[in-house]
Subunit: 234 residues, 2 copies
Amino acid sequence: MKLLIVSTSKIYGSGYMEYLLDELKEFYKDTDEILFIPYARPSGISHDEYTEYPKKAFAKIGKTVKGIHEFEDPKKALEESTGIFTGGGNSFVLLKTLYDLGLMEVLKKVIKSGTPYMGSSAGSNITGMSIGTSNDMPIAYPPSFEALQFVPFNINPHYLDPDPNSKHQGETRATRIGEFHHYNDQKVIGLREGSWLRFENNQLELKGKLDARLFAKGEEAKEYAPGDMSFLLS
Amino acid sequence: MKLLIVSTSKIYGSGYMEYLLDELKEFYKDTDEILFIPYARPSGISHDEYTEYPKKAFAKIGKTVKGIHEFEDPKKALEESTGIFTGGGNSFVLLKTLYDLGLMEVLKKVIKSGTPYMGSSAGSNITGMSIGTSNDMPIAYPPSFEALQFVPFNINPHYLDPDPNSKHQGETRATRIGEFHHYNDQKVIGLREGSWLRFENNQLELKGKLDARLFAKGEEAKEYAPGDMSFLLS
């Protein structure tokens, strides 16, 4: 498997995928055409509108992008693709659509046989064990929260540190992940905006400039600097 | 029906339920014993630990509190109760527990026949059409997102206005509710911390000092000052 598990498609003050272009150029070096999965529909925009974003971004590194919705047979599109990217938006809508269209198994098959897969935000959530650590609103009811399970842990994208000056009584992100561990066993990695994980040759690496925060059931959360994180795979 | 739909159990700088005690005294004036539903388990605390909070708060207005988990037969406890309060925490865990224990129908029955019901945060979420506008992490998978449907709209508790200075790329609350309306038709009321709705004699009133924000599909969101909101019932 070859995976990029990305916290966010945009960092503050920078365009769509701009901060990642060097990595993408190298990650997708063996393909000129990316198959985009727009099902997470951020702000509810259409599949066509959404696909314009990666089209423009990937054009800068000489690659074309087609949306999976443009194909008559999405399973065949996945099977024939040489590079896949699932964009962010709503994890519930994304997962429900993949289940409803019967695409979960074929996605697992093609990614496990080596097609490079990048997911951003909701698209990275689904690479973990479940979408149980999504930040999204449950606006659609998928038949299961079980995700693609490419990695044996869960992702929390857009990880946010508690604001010490907040007067809001809603739960912090860390409290929510603590609640998750009352009902679930898998580790959770909080990926701050600008961070991503790269999996290749059975190695897992934290990339970007920021530390990531790892939550394990019954343990204190720990910070990890960019570098090898392969211990998370066992 | 007699309902209090409360955004939060605590406002900044004040103790558990402290800001609401005058309202509670009057709302529960016909009963001395409150049945507490602790299933939402904030921070994953136990049912016993959680029940201590309302016990202490209600003692200040001369009322005793028993947790529903203390009864051998929770259905019978609901049927015999003269005042019910469901606390906040995680809406997914709360709704799953109510479904798993077969308590949804009996709750509907007793509330519709007049037992006063207060819900706070997650406990208020479940009074609406669905938990589809919860802010919580989906740490458990309920058999449905359908809620008690005492009111024909959805609640967004702890409603937060966008922070104009934020550099975070995660969706604002308003964006999330806008996404909700791509897949769902019911109106959504954003209740800020310190606001609550009171339903009685077929009238709905917004109470507290703050305005609430109403989101309707395909319309601009609107602010409403405290006062009559009965138009939401039709």
